[in-house]
């Protein structure tokens, strides 16, 4: 049967193969070349760091049957933390932790800076969301019995992370430095002081002196954006390492899936 299609224009006709390419394989296209470059870059890094094994170990884990949406609360808490970290860093670019200028700098970044109200809102409401998510995550772990052997240490680390989250809420509440945050911190520090024997000294450490003073705000700021996030990042790293190492638990209502031939042995 004759070819009825019109011939291709010269520019679109495939080029004749060169003698070296004419070995049955098609010449790699642009996409293949790009993919090859990406692979070789990753190979270059992997040859020097051997990271791919660790990445596979973290990412392609086996998860038990019955894994459901409640298992995403940990990741949700992590993303809440990341969101707080990113918005917090950006807020720190405008914030001034001085008792006489803090309120004005917050007013400026909220009302004058492009998207300032939105970013501050994300940080403010995100903090509440994070506390809620952390508690829900803790509830999931508790009610699924996921704190039991061999995951007790991860429960302990999680409790430390919960406390650090609440410390973040406490220290961050002072920073807008309006009437509400000043008096809430006054009350919060007084509650802290009711601990016998050490309470008075903890108070003076938090306030940097017997009264709310020149450096109190800077102290809360340093705790809020350096000490506590650093501790939290390290703890989250340990938490995730243990999750990857120990795996997740199946929901408690699932029975162990024992193969039929093992059951004959009386197990």
């Amino acid at each position: 049967m004759a070819n009825l299609k019109p011939p291709l224009p010269r520019a679109l006709r495939p080029k004749p193969k060169g003698p070296s390419e004419d070995n049955g394989k098609a010449k790699p296209g642009r996409k293949e070349k790009l993919a090859q470059k990406g692979i070789s870059t990753i190979d270059w890094i992997d040859e020097r760091t051997a990271l791919s094994g660790g990445a596979r170990w973290v990412m392609f884990r086996k998860i038990p049957r019955g894994t459901n949406w409640f298992y995403t609360l940990g990741s949700a808490s992590l993303f809440a933390f990341l969101s707080q970290a990113v918005t917090g860093v950006i807020l720190a670019m405008y914030y001034d932790p001085s008792a006489t200028r803090a309120y004005e700098s917050v007013r400026y970044l909220t009302n004058e800076v492009f998207l300032g109200e939105f970013v501050r809102g994300m940080h403010k409401w995100g903090s509440t969301v994070m506390v809620i998510l952390v508690f829900l995550h803790m509830g999931r772990t508790f009610f699924y019995g996921a704190y039991k052997y061999p995951r007790e240490l991860n429960w302990v680390i999680g409790v430390v992370l919960l406390i650090l989250t609440l410390f973040m809420s406490f220290t961050g509440y002072l920073l807008p430095f309006d009437q509400r945050s000043f008096w809430a911190t006054t009350v919060g520090v007084a509650i802290n002081g009711t601990g016998p024997l050490v309470g008075p000294y903890l108070n003076d450490f938090l306030r940097a002196g017997p009264e709310f003073g020149v450096t109190t705000l800077a102290r809360f700021y340093a705790l809020h954006m350096l000490v506590l996030p650093g501790a939290m990042a390290a703890m989250i790293g340990a938490h995730l390492y243990l999750v990857a190492r120990l795996g997740t638990t199946a929901p408690p209502w699932l029975k162990a899936d024992i193969p039929a031939d093992s059951r004959k042995d009386g197990t």
Binding site: A190, G193, P196, G199, P200, D204, P210
Partner: protein, 249 residues
Amino acid sequence: MFATTRTAARLAHRKSPRDARFHFVARERKQPKKKLTTEEAQIPGAFEGETVSRRRFMTGTAHAASGIAVAAFTLPAVGFAVAPVFDKQEPRWETVGPVGDFPDDTYVPRTLTLVRGIGDVGKSTVYIRKYNTDLDDEERDEYNEFIAISTRCMHLGCPVRFVAASERFICPCHGGVYDFQGKVDGGPPVRPLDRFYTRIRNGNLEVGPRFSVNSELKRFSPRDPGMPLDGIGQYLYPARPSVRKLPNT
């Protein structure tokens, strides 16, 4: 060479026909031999009479050096952070007006600067009246010709307000109520309102440092809100070393 010497020494113990493990334990009990020198421990290249091998000595030195290096920046940093706790506060006296301004049957509010350099945050209201012989029964001295009552609520530190009509101090936060003398009349506060020392200089009233009182209005070094001073309270909540009440008061 090191390993072979050790192995040979260990094998030498196992010549007995008995179980090697039991034999070893029995031998340990009979004569617990302490190897004092590296030569006795058969470490190759040991000097005569040397008690620590060079390797152990160098390891220990490296650990000690890094320990000192870490302490060299950690201790000053921690000291720097906790220093304000021990920072001694000198008493400061602030003039609030001529003595004639303050009657003995009601309070007059005055603004006091508790902390300088931080604007309005460092200021606080203080309520002042003259000592009332019909009402007050504390021992009189040079510091209580006039009574200056702090507005810091002794529950958790909110600002109280004097309501002249009811002759009470009332806290807006959690419902603390104090009577005309500042003693607790109701609600959660654990002790009467703090006071300030007052003195008269050239016909003007000066307000000085803060002190706390227990339910009998006995003077104590200033404590934070929420810390009771009756019973064992004064021992459970020790006064800070840096801020004390005035001596002999």
